[in-house]
Amino acid sequence: MKAIDRLFARIAAPMDGPLLSISGGLLLLGLLTLYSASTDGSARITSQLFNVGIALAVMWMAAQVPPQTLMRFALPAYLLGLALLVAVALFGDVRNGARRWLSLGFGSGQPSEIMKVAMPLMLAWYFHKNEAALGLRDYLVAAALLAIPTLLIARQPDLGTALLVAAAGFYVIFLAGLSWKLLIGAAAALAASLPFLWSLMHDYQRRRILTLFDPTEDPLGAGYHIIQSTIAVGSGGITGKGWLNGSQTHLEFIPERTTDFIFAVYSEEFGLIGNTLLLALYLALITRGLMIAANAPTFFSRLLAGAVTLTFFTYAFVNMGMVSGILPVVGVPLPLVSYGGTALVTLFLDIGILMSINRHRTLVQT
C-alpha cells in the first residue's frame, strides 16, 4: 500500500495541478468533438487516445528535467533542427505540393516541428547567456536566428508552422525587453515590407488571403472552407445544435473537420456557450503559464516559460480566427483539441517545460 502511494507521489510530484486540469479539460472537449466529427467510428478516438498517452508521457518526462539541463539542449536542438530543415530543402519528400517531409531510416518526419520548441529554447538561452549587457547587436543576432529557420519553413511551403515558429521566437525577443522604439520601428518595417512579402508568396497563399476578404469569390475552391466553417459557427447559435447533432459536420460540409477545422464542429454543436468555455480554458492555461513565467527564477526560464505559454495563444487565436473567418486559412491546429499526434506531443512538451520551470523555481541556481 505504501509502495503504491509512493509511486503515485513519484508520478504526481513534477505535475502542476492547474495546468494538468486545464489541459485535461481541453483534451476532454477535444475527444468529445472528435467523436462527433469522426465518421469512421471509434478508430480516430482510439488513435487519439494513444497520442494523448504518448504526449502525457513526454510531458511527464519534460517536467522532470531541470531548466538548467534544458538550457544545455538549446544550441544542439536548434542546430539539429536547422540542419534538418536544410536537408528537407535539399532532399525532402514532396507531399501535397509541399516539401516538408524528411525520410529517415525508420520513417519520415517534419523537422519544422522541432523548431517549434527549439526556437524559443535557443533564443531564451542566447538572451540568458548575454543577460548582463543586452545590446542592439544581440537583438539583431536573435532576429537572424529567428529569420533563417522561419524562411526555410515558409519556403516549404508551410505558412502555419512558419508563423508559429516566428511567433515563438518573437515572444522571446519581446519578453527579453526589446525596446518599444525598436518594436514599433520593426512593426513599421514589417508593414512596409508587406508588398515584398506578397511577391514572395505562392499563388495559393495569396488566394487564401484574398479569399478571406471575399469568400464568395471562389465558393467551391479556396472560399469553400471559410464559407462552410462560418456557416457551421453561425448556425450553432447561442446554445449550439447539441453534441452529435451538427448538420454541417455530419453531412460532411466541413472539410478537415477532425484536424484544423475541428473548431467549426465544436462551435456548431456547443454554440456561443461552448465557445466561451473554450476561450476561458485557453485564457486560464495562458494565465497560469504567464504566472509561472513571472515567478521563474532565471532569465532563461522566464523567457522560455513566457514564450511557450504565448505559443498556446498563437495556436488558439490563429485557429479560431481562421475558422470563424477573420484570419486567412493557415494550417494551425486548435491546441489540445485537434486530432493529430505531432502537435499534441509538441504542445505537451511545452506544458512539461512549464511544469518543470514551475517546479524548479525555488531551487537556487548554482
Partner: protein, 636 residues
C-alpha cells in the same frame, strides 16, 4: 556590489513582469475580438447562417408525375406512360466519359446511336445531373450491370417514365409527340411561370395533342425533402409530397375509323377530316404520310430525322391542319347556297352551257367540251358544271361570296384543339387590299371572281375547314368548333371536363335552301360525279367531287394527267356526309396530285363511310366498282 546585483535582478524581474502584463493584455484583447466575432456570427447573424445550414442540408428532389394517357372514343389507348430502366451517367462524377462508355459497351449493347444521343445531350443539357446512355434496358441487361456495378462509379440504373404510342404511325398527326425539353421549351415554361412544375420533367409535348394539352397531360410534380451530405448524396427523406398524375384525354376520334381512312389512302399523300355533325367531334383526322412518334421520345437519331425532315413527301407536315388547298368544285354547293340565300338565283333558273363563259375577252372553259346543255342549279351541282358557276359567281360578286362563306368558317381558323392551325384565304376586295402592296395588284378584278366561283383562284383552305363547312351543311347550319378531345378525365377524382358541348352559332339559312343543296349533293352520289364511287352503298349519302389545279393551265391548254409531272398533277377532293336523313358523319378528303376527285378521293370517302355506318371494311382489292361516269367524260 552584491546589493546592486540584487537590485538589478529585482528591476529586471519588474521589467519582465511588465512585459508579461502587456502580453496578457494583448491576449485578452485578441480573445475579446474572437468573442465579439462569435457573438456576431452566433447571435446577430445566427438566423442567416441557420438558413444557410438548412439550405445545405435539405435538398428538394422533384418527383416527375406520370403523364396522362390518351385514349380514343372507345377507350383504345393511343399514348401511354410506362416506367422503364435506363442506364445513366453522371457526367460530373465521371472524368473520362468516353472511356466509361467503352467499358460499358463490353457488358451492355451500346449502339452508335446511343452514343450520339448521349453526346448531343451532353452539349444541350449543360449541367444535367445524369444523362441516359441507354434507355429501356432489358431485365437481363439490368442484371448484368448490377453484377458489374462496382466497376462504374458515377453510372447508375434509374427508373424513368417513357411515352409509348402503341399504334405507331396511326393518328400520328393527331397525337403529335413528346420530346426532351430544349431551350425554347424552357423559355415557354418560364413565360408561364411553370418552372417549378417542370423541375423533374425531361419531356414536353412538342406537337399535336401532346402539345396543345400539355398542361392537362403533364400533371403536378411532387417532391421529396431529402437530407443530403456535402457530396449531394441523399442521407434520408424528411418529407414527401406525392406527384399528381396528369389528366387523361378521351378523344372523339375513332381509332378503327382512323385506321380504315389511313389505309384507304394507300401510298397517296393527302388529308382527311371526318366530323360528327351533331357535336363537332372529330372522328378521323388523317394527314398522310405520317411518322412514328415513338422515334421522337428519346430524341430522334440523325438518320431518321434526315429521312423525315428531308423527304419530298414531307411527312412532318400536318396537311389537314396547315395544308392550304383550293377547294375546287367542292366549293360549288356553298356558292349555290349563297346565291339562293342572297336571292341571286332560284333553283329552277337554267342556263344553256356552250362549254365556256366569256368574260372581258377571256374564255373560261368548262371541263366538258361542248358543254352540259341546259343546266339548272341541281344539274350544275350534280355534273359539276363550271359554266353555271362562272356566271353565278360573276352575278354574286366577290364581296357577297366572301361575306356569305365566312359564316361557314372558310378562311378562318376553326379553333380546333391542335396548335399551329393555318387560317387560309377567303378572298375579298378587302383581303386583296391588305395582301398586296402595289396599287395595280391591290385592286380586285371582276375576272378573278369567276375563278373563285369554281373554287380556284385565291381560294385556299385547310381540309379541316372544308370538313367543318361540310358538317355545317349536314347539320342544317349548326356550327360547332371542331374538337378532337371529347373530355378530360381528372386523374384523381375521375371527374370529366367536356371540351365542347355548345355550338358556336347557328347560321340563318332557309331550311328549303339547305334541303335543296343537300338533295343536289345526294344527286352527285346517285347520278353524278360521285355515283361510281358510291354505287350500291347501303345508305344515302351526299357528296361533291372536286379537282384543284396545282399549276395554272395556259389559255386553251387541256389538262392531261399522264403528261404532267406527278407533283404538278391536280389534287383530288371530295366532301360528303351520310346518312342524309340524320347525318352521323361529315368529311372532307384531299388526295394530293391524284387527279380527279371522283376517281381518287371519292373512293376513300366511300370506304370511310362504309366502315363508319355499316362496319364494313373494303378489302383493298375491290375498290372502285364500275361507275356511271365514263373516264373520258369525267368532270367535276
Amino acid at each position: 556590489m552584491k546589493l546592486t546585483e540584487f537590485k538589478n535582478t529585482q528591476r529586471e524581474l519588474y521589467y519582465f513582469q511588465v512585459r508579461v502584463g502587456v502580453a496578457g493584455m494583448v491576449v485578452l484583447a485578441a480573445f475579446a475580438v474572437l468573442l465579439a466575432r462569435f457573438v456576431y456570427l452566433q447571435v446577430v447573424q445566427h438566423e442567416y447562417y441557420r438558413t444557410k445550414a438548412e439550405d445545405n442540408r435539405i435538398s428538394i428532389v422533384p418527383i416527375a408525375p406520370n403523364r396522362g394517357n390518351i385514349v380514343d372514343r372507345s377507350g383504345v389507348v393511343l399514348a401511354r406512360s410506362y416506367s422503364a430502366y435506363t442506364l445513366e451517367i453522371s457526367p460530373r462524377q465521371v472524368p473520362d466519359v468516353e472511356a466509361v462508355i467503352n467499358e460499358l459497351a463490353s457488358i451492355i449493347d451500346v449502339r452508335a446511336s446511343d452514343r450520339n444521343r448521349f453526346r448531343r445531350m451532353l452539349v444541350e443539357a449543360k449541367g444535367a445531373d445524369s444523362l441516359p446512355i441507354k434507355t429501356r434496358l432489358s431485365d437481363e441487361e439490368v442484371a448484368r450491370f448490377a453484377a458489374n456495378r462496382y466497376r462504374f462509379p458515377g453510372v447508375e440504373i434509374k427508373a424513368r417514365l417513357f411515352r409509348q404510342y402503341p399504334h405507331g404511325e396511326l393518328a400520328s398527326h393527331v397525337l403529335g409527340y413528346i420530346g426532351r425539353i430544349n431551350d425554347r421549351d424552357l423559355e415557354l415554361i418560364a413565360a408561364e411561370s411553370l418552372e417549378a412544375n417542370y423541375k423533374g420533367s425531361d419531356h414536353i409535348g412538342k406537337t399535336g395533342l401532346e402539345q396543345s394539352y400539355e398542361r392537362q397531360l403533364h400533371g403536378a410534380t411532387g417532391y421529396e425533402q431529402v437530407e443530403v451530405d456535402a457530396g449531394g448524396r441523399g442521407v434520408r427523406t424528411l418529407s414527401r409530397t406525392a406527384p399528381t398524375s396528369g389528366n387523361s384525354l378521351s378523344l372523339t376520334l375513332d381509332l378503327r375509323l382512323q385506321e380504315v381512312a389511313e389505309e384507304a389512302f394507300g401510298a397517296h399523300r393527302g388529308a382527311l377530316v371526318a366530323i360528327e355533325p351533331a357535336t363537332g367531334g372529330v372522328l378521323a383526322f388523317v394527314s398522310k404520310p405520317g411518322f412514328d412518334p415513338n422515334l421522337f421520345v428519346d430524341g430522334i437519331d440523325p438518320a431518321n430525322w434526315e429521312l423525315l425532315n428531308n423527304s419530298p413527301d414531307r411527312p412532318l407536315i400536318n396537311r389537314a391542319l396547315t395544308g392550304l388547298y383550293p377547294p375546287g368544285s367542292t366549293f360549288k354547293p356553298f356558292l349555290a347556297l349563297a346565291a339562293l340565300s342572297l336571292g341571286k338565283r332560284t333553283t329552277t333558273q337554267a342556263i344553256a352551257d356552250p362549254g365556256y363563259f366569256i368574260f372581258g375577252g377571256h374564255r373560261f372553259r368548262d371541263d366538258k367540251v361542248g358543254g352540259h346543255g341546259v343546266v339548272d342549279m341541281y344539274k350544275a351541282i350534280v355534273v359539276s358544271c363550271d359554266t353555271y358557276f362562272y356566271m353565278l359567281a360573276n352575278d354574286l360578286g366577290i364581296d357577297n361570296i366572301s361575306g356569305f362563306l365566312r359564316q361557314f368558317g372558310f378562311g378562318a381558323r376553326t379553333g380546333i384543339d391542335l396548335e399551329g392551325e393555318a387560317a387560309g384565304v377567303l378572298p375579298s376586295q378587302e383581303w386583296k387590299m391588305k395582301r398586296f402592296s402595289r396599287p395595280e395588284q391591290r385592286k380586285w378584278y371582276a375576272g378573278e371572281t369567276i375563278s373563285v366561283g369554281i373554287g380556284q383562284g385565291y381560294n385556299a383552305y385547310t381540309p379541316l375547314q372544308l370538313a367543318q363547312a361540310t358538317a355545317a351543311l349536314a347539320s342544317g347550319g349548326v356550327m360547332y368548333r371542331p374538337h378532337i378531345v371529347h373530355y378530360i378525365e381528372n386523374s384523381r377524382t375521375g371527374e370529366r371536363t367536356y371540351v365542347e358541348r355548345e355550338p358556336l352559332r347557328t347560321l340563318a339559312l332557309k331550311p328549303q335552301h339547305i334541303e335543296f343543296i343537300r338533295n343536289a349533293m345526294v344527286g352527285v352520289n346517285k347520278e353524278g360525279t360521285g355515283a361510281r364511287a358510291f354505287a350500291g352503298a347501303g345508305y344515302t349519302s351526299a357528296g361533291k367531287t372536286g379537282t384543284a389545279q396545282v399549276v395554272a393551265l395556259k389559255q386553251n391548254e387541256k389538262y392531261h394527267e399522264s403528261r404532267v409531272q406527278e407533283r404538278h398533277r391536280d389534287h383530288a377532293l371530295f366532301i360528303a356526309f351520310a346518312p342524309v336523313e340524320s347525318p352521323k358523319i361529315a368529311l372532307a378528303v384531299l388526295v394530293e396530285n391524284a387527279g380527279f376527285g371522283a376517281r381518287a378521293a371519292a373512293p376513300i370517302a366511300r370506304q370511310v363511310l362504309d366502315y363508319y355506318l355499316l362496319g364494313k371494311r373494303v378489302p383493298p382489292a375491290d375498290k372502285a366498282p364500275a361507275g356511271a361516269v365514263e373516264d373520258d367524260d369525267e368532270s367535276d
